[in-house]
């Protein structure tokens, strides 16, 4: 599944410009160190963090997209930095638990 297909399937809102990519797994964490240590290239990163430092963290480990859950407001400087790096910042009003359930239901599992 690609980022664009995921947006349609789950009803996410794309906040940034991005390169469409194949999603190869899911990583759920609200700690940047956890992401830097454990996320894999192509993973979908699910978090409630919205500070712009999520962009270089996402870029460092080459995630396919970042989904901000629980309807959190994403600051404009985060979106602008994501635009610069072509990283997808997607938003969902669902709590993390429910969103991850939907992702699992779509067959998106970490290999």
């Amino acid at each position: 599944m690609t980022t664009t297909e995921l947006i349609k399937n789950i009803g996410l809102k794309a906040l940034s410009e991005f390169d469409d990519r194949k999603i190869t797994g899911v990583f759920v964490s609200d700690m940047l160190s956890d992401v830097m240590a454990g996320a894999k290239s192509g993973d979908l990163w699910v978090t409630v963090q919205t500070h712009k430092s999520i962009v270089p963290a996402a870029n460092l480990v080459d995630v396919s997209a970042v989904i901000i859950t629980s309807g959190k407001e994403v600051p404009q400087d985060t979106v602008e930095l994501a635009n610069k790096h072509n990283i997808a910042i997607l938003k969902s009003d669902l709590p993390t638990f429910e969103l991850v359930g939907k992702l699992y239901g779509l067959g998106l599992v970490t290999k």
Binding site: D19, D30, M31, L32, S33, D34, M36, A37, K40, S41, G42, V48, Q49, T50, H51, K52, S53, P56, A57, N59, L60, V61, D62, P75, H85
Partner: protein, 183 residues
């Protein structure tokens, strides 16, 4: 014997906190890694001529790298974290290099060791290369790459508005929207 084409993996991962302390007399900064599972809090304390006060606890991690082919281990217990350049100083070498590499889809991060800085604490070019190789081996480099620079390229930390990739304010219900400058 041909040289090993290293394939690096992260080992000895330990989560903890990078503690930022400032001396209220000389304004000196020092940082260190605490492997405890809670932030260091407390009053200012006297140590020699210094009175240290904790400015920030940043949730972070430490690690080493090991080659999966030859088992060579490269330790990074002096690694404090990565800083990303915000382009605040147009004459800064980091920003100059960053602007040049961005056109080649290469994203720049600055590797820091702990404060106070000592000459011998600088990351050697080889160690920086290993760190860079590891993160590039983790990604699809046909799309983009990362370049890791030494903090030596930053001439004046007091003017730098770069931001560290670590978590602050983890004890609050909402992640902080603004971060206070730490350098």
């Amino acid at each position: 014997m041909p040289e090993c084409q290293h394939l690096w993996e992260m080992i000895n991962i330990q989560f903890g906190f990078v503690v930022f302390e400032k001396c209220s007399h000389c304004n000196g900064l020092r940082t260190y890694f605490s492997p405890k599972d809670h932030p260091i809090v407390g009053d200012a304390y006297l140590e020699g001529e210094h009175t240290w006060r904790c400015m920030e606890n940043a949730q972070s991690f430490q690690f080493d790298l090991r080659c999966a082919k030859c088992n060579r281990v490269e330790k990074y217990d002096d690694f404090m974290g990565f800083l990303y350049c915000t382009g605040c100083l147009p004459d800064c070498q980091v920003d100059i290099i960053q602007k040049k590499l961005e056109t080649q889809k290469t994203w720049v991060l600055v590797a820091f060791s702990f404060f106070p800085r000592k000459e011998k604490d600088s990351f050697s070019p080889e160690r920086l290369k290993i760190l860079e190789d590891y993160f590039n081996q983790r990604r699809d480099t046909s799309r983009s790459r990362v370049a890791i620079l030494s903090y030596d390229l930053i001439e004046d930390f007091s003017r730098c508005k770069g931001e560290f990739i670590h978590d602050v304010g983890m004890l609050s219900l909402e992640p902080p929207k603004e971060r206070k400058p730490l350098l």
